[in-house]
Amino acid sequence: MQDDLGLIQRLQKQDSKALSVIYDKYSGALYGVILRICKNEEQAQDLLQETFLKIWQKSNQYDPKKGKIFTWAYRIAKNIALNAQRRPYKLIQNEDLSVYENEETHESEIDMLQLNGSLKQLEPHHQKALQLVYFNGLTHREAHEEMNVPLGTFKSYIKQALKKLREAYQKELFLLWVIIEKMI
């Protein structure tokens, strides 16, 4: 799958329509990542906008030879979300002047944050491994401690999980192909 190089060139020439197309294509995927890291809708929306502003401003630093634009955009989104976690976000003040974090949104978001798609077909430890590094922004080191397995084992979890995912995708593609064949 190749990215549209013309679209990227237009983005790098600061064509706002190109940014609009890229936003339509990737904002959902990036928002899914950001929201799963910061678990706060209001903050995640700010961070999503911050992410696309950075994509716009730093578009000349993106080199298509080094990888897909989504990979580059994902790294930006993840960094912005992780950095935001390190600084205290808006606290809500109540009448007795004490402050607490607004946790109501967390409850309602739990359903939304459930992982979907082919990932669900994987074994739980494979799911967990991918979730930690990809959607929670943990490093391999942090994640293997979190799962309480050796780093080498954790790395093989990731590898196996990706392999299974690929097989699942190919199965879907095959089914799709069969359906299309039948329709013709």
Binding site: M1, Q14, S16, L19, S20, Y23, D24, S27, G28, A29, L30, Y31, G32, V33, L35, R36, A44, Q45, L48, Q49, F52, L53, W56, K65, K66, G67, K68, F70, T71, Y74, R75, K78, N79, M112, L115, N116, G117, S118, L119, L130, V133, Y134, F135, T139, H140, K155, S156, I158, K159, L162, L165, R166, Y169
Partner: protein
């Protein structure tokens, strides 16, 4: 690192997730640039992760896109509108300062040029005056020296004053000679001699044993003149001769003589 160990270490996954240090990242990028098979393998991982993200996408509220595009449009129009104006006004500001300085320099240099010309004229006038004064002093000095030398000569105790009176040929003429036999000088004051035509001149002669010896032509425009001193002269004579003088005196034109 060979190809398989790179696949096994999971470093490509970490690279994709942005977990590597700068030096590791550059190393991986260089390896990917050169190894096509690894590059394809990495592309597959990218695709897997992208699909994973797409399957778990959450649609953000539509307002975010509008606000994003608005803030970008604002920054574009700001860049387009504000910067050129400020550049222009800056340039105008500097131009105004520069032209102010230019005008100031022009005026001051005009004034200085004028002053310089005035000074030059004044110096020229002063120099001319000084030259005139120096010339006057020179003239006065010369005149004084001359007068002084005549005075010294005349006032010398050994000097004898002799008056030469005109005869019937030139009855109104007279001249005064000062003869000093010690220093052997003869000085003549020819002022009293009647004016002659341009083709004639007075000439002075000394009589030595009956022979007339030339003592010199008498210029008409001098007050005092030194003549030749002739030894053993018995008398001094003045004749009228053709302009330029004569070898022998024209005795018929003798106008005055005096015995020594």
């Amino acid at each position: 690192m060979d190809r398989n160990s790179i696949k096994d270490t999971g470093i490509l996954e970490q690279y994709l997730l942005g977990e590597l240090s700068d030096s590791q990242r550059i190393e991986v990028e260089n390896i990917l640039k050169e190894d096509l098979e690894l590059r394809n393998y990495f592309n597959k991982i990218e695709d897997d992760f992208e699909k994973l993200a797409m399957e778990n996408a959450i649609t953000p509220p539509s307002g975010i896109k509008d606000s994003l595009l608005n803030s970008i449009e604002n920054s574009i129009t700001k860049e387009e509108k504000v910067i050129p104006i400020s550049k222009k006004s800056n340039r105008q500001f500097y131009l105004a300062i520069a032209s102010g300085f230019a005008l100031l320099f022009m005026l001051t240099s005009g004034w200085l040029f004028n002053q310089w010309q005035n000074s030059k004229n004044t110096v020229e006038i002063v120099q001319n005056e000084a030259t005139d004064l120096r010339n006057q002093i020179q003239t006065l000095e010369n005149s004084f020296n001359e007068t002084n030398s005549w005075y010294q000569a005349i006032n010398n105790p050994n000097t004898v004053q002799l008056v030469l009176r005109g005869n019937q040929i030139s009855p109104n003429s007279n001249a005064i000679t000062y003869v000093n036999h010690t220093e052997k000088t003869v000085i003549l004051n020819p002022k009293g001699l009647t004016k002659l035509d341009d083709d004639k001149t007075y000439q002075m002669w000394a009589d030595v044993d009956g022979e007339m010896i030339d003592m010199g032509i008498i210029p008409s425009n001098k007050e005092m003149i030194a003549m030749k001193y002739i030894d053993n002269a018995e008398s001094i004579n003045i004749t009228i001769e053709p302009a330029g003088g004569n070898d022998h005196p024209t005795v018929e034109q003798l106008i005055s003589n005096v015995l020594l």
